[in-house]
């Protein structure tokens, strides 16, 4: 690990000022320190944001929830309000990492976790995300974990996280404090970016921007499902994951939100898939149609070709489960 200067921020302003001066925030440290040990990330200065008062979960004026940026993944998944009103969020968090890691991982850090592309991790290899302009080792290389949607000629990496997939299905927003103290709110679906020709930028955060919270709209009701397909049944990243929040009325799908993990540079959300399902009676033919729409522009890269049929089948399985309760009523 390269040497760095360590300081603690006691206020959001201190954190933002240090961030503006080029320091990197450290929260749980479970992603950043991993990457610093490998010298994939080499910050000159770390500012520890753990002293900040961002560790609580509170109710918002409109009846939603505000989850502070430093709430650990464990505390969020175990919170009674989250378990009762937003179970898809608990499920997605619990499907990720391990008990030890979730005790350290924070809401803000989890959103910002970086790709697990092997070439990004290996400093001997070309990688446009790690070193812009050096090329992409994964294109034409080993790309089992990589994207089937929204990739570019510069980068085919995936966003690896689970929590943000559930947050996308819940239509949550990221609360951000800019360096100058202004607050803004960005839908989680717009927080992560597609790689385009600037894959070094994972998300929309600018220098000095501090995530202060994630906000959830009022409880959506319905049936919540999170399904994660991976190489082993625990402690592994998703090959494909699907988060669903579905509501049934008189045997028809009256409303549905879907988001997908493991298939793109961001949690994938496609309103056209939801539109084709809404107002319809669940059937295998309908689920197939939804899968066709989701994957109409999908491109395999070689070792990840299997993700196209896997995503289609996982979507069908999730829709079967999410619509089962109301279908017979």
């Amino acid at each position: 690990m390269r040497p760095f200067n360590y300081s603690r921020a006691e206020t959001e302003k201190e954190a933002a000022d240090a961030g503006s001066d080029g320091a990197t925030f450290i929260a749980g440290g479970t992603n950043l320190l991993d990457l610093m040990k490998l010298e994939v990330m080499t910050p000159d200065a770390l500012v520890d944001i753990n002293p900040l008062d961002l560790k609580s979960i509170s109710t918002t004026d409109d009846g939603g929830l505000r989850i502070g940026a430093l709430v650990t993944n464990s505390d969020c998944a175990a919170d009674q309000r989250v378990r009762h009103d937003y179970p898809v969020l608990s499920k997605a968090i619990l499907a990720g990492a391990s008990g030890q890691l979730r005790n350290k991982a924070t809401t803000g850090g989890n959103l910002c976790q970086r790709t697990r592309c092997y070439y990004f991790y290996d400093t001997a290899m070309p990688c446009n995300k790690r070193e812009p302009g050096s090329g992409c080792g994964a294109i034409g290389g080993v790309n089992r974990l990589h994207a089937i949607l929204g990739a570019s000629d510069a980068c085919i990496a995936t966003y690896p996280g689970d929590m943000a997939v559930a947050l996308s299905a819940l239509d949550a927003s990221v609360e951000i404090r800019s360096a100058n103290g202004n607050m803004r709110s960005v839908p989680v679906t717009d927080f992560h970016r597609l790689p385009g020709d600037t894959p070094e930028k994972d998300n929309v955060l600018e220098t000095g921007d501090l995530i202060t919270a994630v906000t959830l709209p009022p409880p959506p009701g319905g049936t919540h499902v999170y399904r994660k397909v991976r190489d082993r049944s625990s402690y592994a990243f998703a090959l494909v994951s699907v988060a669903a929040v579905a509501k049934m009325e008189n045997g028809k799908i009256s409303g549905i939100r879907l988001a997908f993990g493991g298939i793109a540079h961001k949690p994938w959300h496609d309103p056209a898939v939801e539109d084709v399902l809404t107002g319809e009676s669940p059937s295998e033919a309908l689920f197939d149609k939804a899968g066709e729409i989701l994957l109409k522009d999908a491109i395999g890269q070689g070792s990840n070709d299997f993700k196209i049929p896997l995503a289609r089948r996982t979507l069908s399985a999730v829709l079967r489960q999410a619509t089962a309760s109301g279908a017979s009523a």
Binding site: M1, P3, F4, N5, Y6, I26, G28, G29, T30, L33, D34, K37, L46, D48, N50, S74, A77, A78, Q80, R83, H84, P87, S90, K91, L94, A95, A97, S98, G99, Q100, L101, N103, K104, S234, Y235
Partner: protein
Amino acid sequence: MQKTELTINRKKRSIEADPRTTLLDALRHHLDLTGTKKGCDHGQCGACTVLGNGRRINSCLTLACMHDGDEITTIEGLGTPDDLSPLQAAFVRHDGYQCGYCTPGQICSATAMLQEVAEGWPSNVTEDVEVAPPLSREEIAERMSGNICRCSAYPNIVKAILEAAEADQ
């Protein structure tokens, strides 16, 4: 150099170290507490598991200086050869190891895991996340997945944990 004061196994300790020092290296190299093991150094194996303010964490993926004022418990703080903790005794009784390298991490992890279960935390195999699940083999396997055992002593590790949990009730 960064000065850090910690309470380790109920004793106040202080170290002065490069800020790069992980909690794991601080324990092993600065504090002579070598019970905590380094497996992967990247959060992938659980050998380095300790309790930070009562919660299990990977000591390899956190900096010692980030724990100023914290209470850390390592395997040495859970019990001694003459006074084993219930989980330590159960691991001995059930032969919950072969080489023993992962064992301190397994026992620290299981100690905190049983507390999480007592607090009603759900897991990825819990049928309904709203309802606190009873402890089963399946729940233990899922909750302990952050501790890899290269000798694959899993069947006896699970037996030992189940026995210690039942004895506690």
